[in-house]
């Protein structure tokens, strides 16, 4: 009857027991599809191979992960790229250490999309002008991407009213006319299309087909040796995950509560091994334009 077996937190314990010479490393992540590679890598033993005894801690957002990394409680953390740029902008001494997840680049099938009701009269990004659009957080990568796409389509994105609605509630918000459109990510993109909603734009892919969405980060002062080990383990994990989608779907069943039937359907992101600096710069420029970021970051220091 132990169906909800401990999914995280102690997931590293099982295979690392007894290996005393391993370096204990804690990584704070958000338990979503984007972080599947690290679970896969742990499962495949990539971290152990590098001499790392990995512990994965989960949190629901950056609010808890960043301070935990800053205080030294976690060695590494997972966060979306724009948040990290903002943090660095505010003077936090952190740097990105590994790529994590990127858009598929497919503008007709991606893991993040703006959805709306079929009869809403919103057929293209330009129609979003003057509408209420939800996103899980405002002043971040999602609304920046959406605004940029709208502006590129020739409409004025400053007329959009962005409202914060958590992804799980977004479909209900659209269906109940609380918002005109919603930006959601998987598994809710699949759920939305199944519920009869229509996709207006796959905003990430439309913004930049190589856009890095999130990254692993650490304090700038992180031990160089450890950093190298982590990076190479992550490298292997990302590669493996990118080429074995079935393993990814399977492992997601262990650390999320998503229905396996839905998991089989969802669009998986790309798991790149390298950052795409051009896309990051484009994102930073857009963020500065929309006032999310004060100045473009020094990518030489921020990126690995």
């Amino acid at each position: 009857t132990d169906s909800d077996a401990p999914t995280s937190g102690d997931s590293g314990d099982g295979d690392s027991a007894g290996s005393a010479d391993l370096i204990p490393v804690t990584v704070g992540v958000i338990p979503i599809a984007d972080t599947a590679p690290i679970y896969v890598g742990d499962d495949q033993g990539f971290f152990e191979e590098e001499g790392i005894d990995l512990t994965i801690e989960t949190a629901t957002g950056g609010a808890a992960i960043v301070p935990a990394v800053v205080s030294g409680d976690y060695e590494f953390g997972f966060s979306n790229q724009l948040s990290l740029m903002v943090a660095a902008d505010q003077g936090l001494d952190i740097k990105m250490v590994s790529a994590a997840v990127a858009t598929t680049g497919d503008t007709s099938k991606d893991m993040g999309a703006v959805v709306t009701k079929p009869d809403s009269g919103i057929a293209s990004p330009a129609d979003l002008a003057g509408k209420t659009v939800s996103s899980n957080s405002v002043g971040n990568i999602n609304d920046t991407a959406v605004r940029s796409v709208v502006d590129e389509a020739g409409a004025d994105s400053s007329t959009i009213d962005f409202v914060e609605v958590p992804f799980p509630d977004a479909i209900a918000a659209v269906e109940n006319d609380q918002v005109d459109a919603a930006f959601v990510v998987e598994p809710f993109v699949t759920a939305a299309t199944e519920a009869g909603l229509e996709v207006v734009t796959y905003a990430y892919a439309d913004f930049d087909p190589k856009l890095d969405i999130a990254a692993y980060f650490a304090l700038s002062s992180v031990d160089a040796d450890l950093l190298e080990k982590f990076q190479s383990a992550m490298q292997k994990s990302l590669e493996f995950a990118d080429s074995n989608p079935d393993v990814v779907r399977e492992i997601m069943g262990t650390y999320t509560k998503t229905d396996p039937a839905v998991l089989a359907e969802i669009t998986l992101p790309t798991y790149p091994t390298e950052f795409d600096r051009a896309s990051s710069e484009k994102l930073a420029a857009a963020a500065v334009e929309y006032g999310v970021l004060k100045a473009e970051p020094d990518f030489d220091n921020l990126l690995p």
Binding site: T1, P6, T60, A64, S71, A172, K257
Partner: protein, 275 residues
Amino acid sequence: MTAVLNTVSEVRRLRRRTSSGAGAWLGAIGVVAFLGLWETVSRLGLVDTRFVPPASEVLVRFGQYVIDRAFWRDVGSTMLSWSLGLIIAVAAATVIGFLIGSSRFLERLTHSTIEFLRPVPSVALIPLAVLLFGTKIQAGLLLIVYAAFWQVLIQVIYGAKDVDPVADATARSYGLSRFQRIRHVTWPTALPYLMTGVRLAAAVALILAITAELIIGTPGLGKQIAETREGGAITSMYALILATGLIGVAINLVARFIERRVLAWHTSVRMDVAG
């Protein structure tokens, strides 16, 4: 002789009536009525069942949880941080509350600070908590203690001020020391207030325990709720919320039980027995 026998049986009858569980039945009726309403609303399609599943489905899911060991492990960790946080908050608030409540000087001195600190939302303290304690149980505890502490403190201060002047004069005239007066006069007077404070704090502590798990991600019911939500498993989420509420009900039962013990002399409890 018959009169005496009569009395004895009468006394027994009276005793039995007062300890009968009519209250529990009424409470059960209330709960059943609520579940019925929920089921009806959901079945009639007044709300979308995808977002608000019918009570029966949630109950079935809840039933599955009940026989699931992992569920109990989560309940266990939530209850652990809950009880630790509550105990710390109540103990600290009681001691400080009595000190403040029985001295006009201290009360005036601390008033502005208390009123300033009280409305600080625990949620806003999360970065600080994580910074101080990392994501260990202490971080959650800090939030729980911070939120629950004020609830008890205010109640105790008010209770300590409610001492009957004649009762206090009596104690002073018999030369009871300050401590003895607190122990024998102020404490019993403030006890009903404290009990209310504890009941308030118990719920707040539970809410914070769950919220902390939700946001910081320490294991427990809150984390499960967050995960079911993220995963779109709405029925499971409601089953867990149901569990949370039921824990609240259970806590209240315990509180009421304790109250009946320690406040048997108090008008409110006495009237319940008599009426």
